[in-house]
Symmetry: C2
Subunit: 419 residues, 2 copies
């Protein structure tokens, strides 16, 4: 049998419905913030992601790249920000010189080693706010992200840091290179590479971060200039004021090259306030639109994993409010009465009430059993008697009572249900 | 500037929201029918689509195929049915030997010449009903499809036909080959090819169908055996009974190889009942699950184009009920009052009411203008006076009235709005 592709999952009910419920709720919250949804294509010209300055593992080792039938080099999107930035420029969404808040939901693709909560096809939601470098926008997004996760009843905390402007980042980079050079022997092979190409990424290492020398690595905050420092302090003050729980993490730098000033992640907390898992992250970036060939624009963005969120919700036994079983299950005793049963079926659905019909050729007993397995509140049973008299038997599976109703009283019954 | 890929579009507001509104409504209707949503990956092993018996243009000329980093031959899905059938088998959704109704929404990819309403990335919704060959299932799906389009206020008609069982189809194929052979000189180049490889497809030709000899081509209905004939008559009788408008089209065969018995399409009608445009189609298929390496299962499916539906709705000025502008727009006169303004902003959003803040550094006049352009019902204005007294000015942009409220009376005002 032909199997699904490794690292990609089918979502069968109830997983498919959980996904929708989660998306619906997040979409509602995005709209509270006057953000507008954007949907960009799954395929982009490879340069959208393979940019000169971008040398993350994600882009170098994990993208799905190919040539199309017209010899275009395309990449299946591995993340959302670059495509949205491309669309922002191409659709001239900056025309009215105002802040533009765009949110998205999508599937993304990375050729990684599949593991729990990390598949080759995965889903993210995200927001990008263009055209303002105010720390109030940092606040707006961080507060929104907090609200999203809290609305699901999760206990979270923002972990944030400031990288400062481009000069501070350069200074810090050389400092961190110097520092880790002292511990060369203790670095993992990946970090040895990073030491040359992008020393900041050592700070993201899931292996070396547990080693002793790591804890004493220099702090980004020491290299901020006055403006960046003040900016960060103002942001923290407002987080206090709005009572958003946060923790400053002066080793947080995030994976991509384009970040500057504020970067942040959001963690789920255990009962005693330990960070258990990171749900998503983001920060400020300034050069991306330029790298894509547009004007330089200041942006602040966030992306969160949807599978990761659903896993976390499953662990807290979150009530997704999944849809009910069909309210009615219609059983006819004989082929002859089918069209009478089908009229009733249509009548019910016309009232926007879910109903199912006993399509399979089975004994009456099996049909009744099926209706009960299906968890329908009502069975409608049509035998010869009912067909001849144009009535029906309405059986309430919860109270185990039943009555014979004329077609017109059943219609009345339906009318009353609706309200 | 890097552009989007040819034939693929960004959906910017309000297009993105129209998409959601349409999907939401269709999803609701699918659930009325006890169908369950399934989400399958975008990428499949190529054999899922490139099956031995499948020789449609779509599969041969239009798929996006490539090798992944692990040398798997993958195809970006060009249609929904094969992936859903693969998932049905792989997830053993047939285990309880009952009818299984699966619906989906998704993007699909075909390397075609882009034209209005036909892009390289496009969206479809669809349903596949597995595990019953009853004509009642044909009816169930056709009635559902009718309901979906009618629920949007579109005037539609089902166009349907029966191909009969595999023997009837073989007989008909040889007949149609014979017939079109007589008109070889008049056939378009594509149809000349089809004459050899798959003569049935000539009937789908958008060029030759306008030619005279086409109208007299043999009817599929003449080649049905007694069972198929009776089956089709029963179906038509029930369509009459349920008052679903239809038209029998004995030249309708549909593009793919796996169809048998009932096939159908749904057309939009003009005021004088001419078919203007086809919105989608489907039919019964029996061999697909076998071709994918599973047990043979009888299925009935439908897929409809979402862009095509939205285009049709746009033409009828359909009211999508797009979401409102933010109810409140908050204007502060000075940086000093920002945090007071931000507390109010949070207060409003805490009540699940959409609000926006005047983030951009502008004159008061421009800020007010922006609030009005944004079409906010209320402006909240905070100057020095209001800040000092912890009050605010609430301006109703519709009635052009304004009043000063204490913070606590504003909170009361919000409480009352909620209800």
């Amino acid at each position: 049998m032909i199997a699904k592709v490794k690292g990609m999952n089918d979502l069968v009910y109830p997983e498919s419905e959980k996904l929708n419920k989660v998306i619906e709720k997040i979409r509602f919250l995005f709209k509270l913030y006057n953000a507008r949804e954007i949907v960009t294509p799954l395929l982009e010209h490879s340069e959208v992601f393979h940019r000169e300055k971008e040398n993350s593992d994600m882009v170098i080792k994990e993208t799905y790249d190919f040539m199309d039938r017209g010899n275009r080099k395309l990449t299946i999107r591995p993340e959302g920000t670059a495509g949205v930035a491309r669309a922002y420029l191409e659709n001239k969404l900056y025309l009215d010189d105002d802040i533009v808040k765009l949110f998205y939901f999508g599937t993304f693709y990375r050729y990684e080693r599949p593991q729990k909560g990390r598949l080759r096809e995965f889903r993210q939601f995200g927001i990008e706010v263009f055209n303002s470098d105010s720390y109030l926008i940092d606040l707006e997004v961080i507060e929104l992200v907090s609200r999203i996760y809290n609305s699901f009843g999760l206990k979270t905390r923002i972990r944030l840091n400031s990288l400062g402007n481009e000069t501070s980042i350069l200074n810090y980079k050389s400092k961190i290179k110097e520092y880790f050079n002292l511990y060369k022997e203790s670095l993992c092979p990946d970090c040895l590479n990073r030491l040359e190409n992008n020393p900041l990424r050592i700070l993201d290492c899931k292996v070396d971060c547990h080693k002793d020398f790591f804890k004493n690595a220099p702090s980004t905050l020491k290299y901020l200039d006055l403006d960046s420092k003040k900016r960060f302090e103002e942001l923290l003050k407002l987080l206090d004021k709005l009572e958003i729980p946060y923790l400053v993490d002066d080793k947080l730098v995030r994976g991509l090259d384009y970040y500057s000033e504020t970067v942040f992640e959001i963690d789920i907390l255990s009962d005693n306030n330990d960070a258990i898992k990171t749900l998503g992250g983001g920060g400020r970036y300034n050069n991306l639109t330029k790298e894509l060939g547009g004007e330089n624009t200041s942006c602040f963005g966030f992306a969160g994993g949807i599978e990761r969120l659903i896993n976390a919700l499953d662990e807290t036994n979150y009530d997704y409010k999944l849809s009910d079983s069909p309210k009615f299950y219609i059983i006819t005793f004989d082929k002859e009465f089918e069209d009478y049963g089908l009229s009733i079926l249509k009548e019910i659905r016309d009232k926007n009430i879910a109903a199912e019909f006993s399509y399979k050729d089975r004994s009456i007993k099996s049909k009744v059993k099926k209706g009960i397995t299906l968890n329908s509140k009502y069975l409608i049973i049509i035998g010869k008697n009912e067909f001849d008299n144009q009535t029906l038997i309405l059986k309430d599976t919860v109270t185990s009572t039943q009555e014979e109703l004329s077609y017109s009283s059943f219609k009345e019954f339906l009318e009353n249900m609706e309200k």
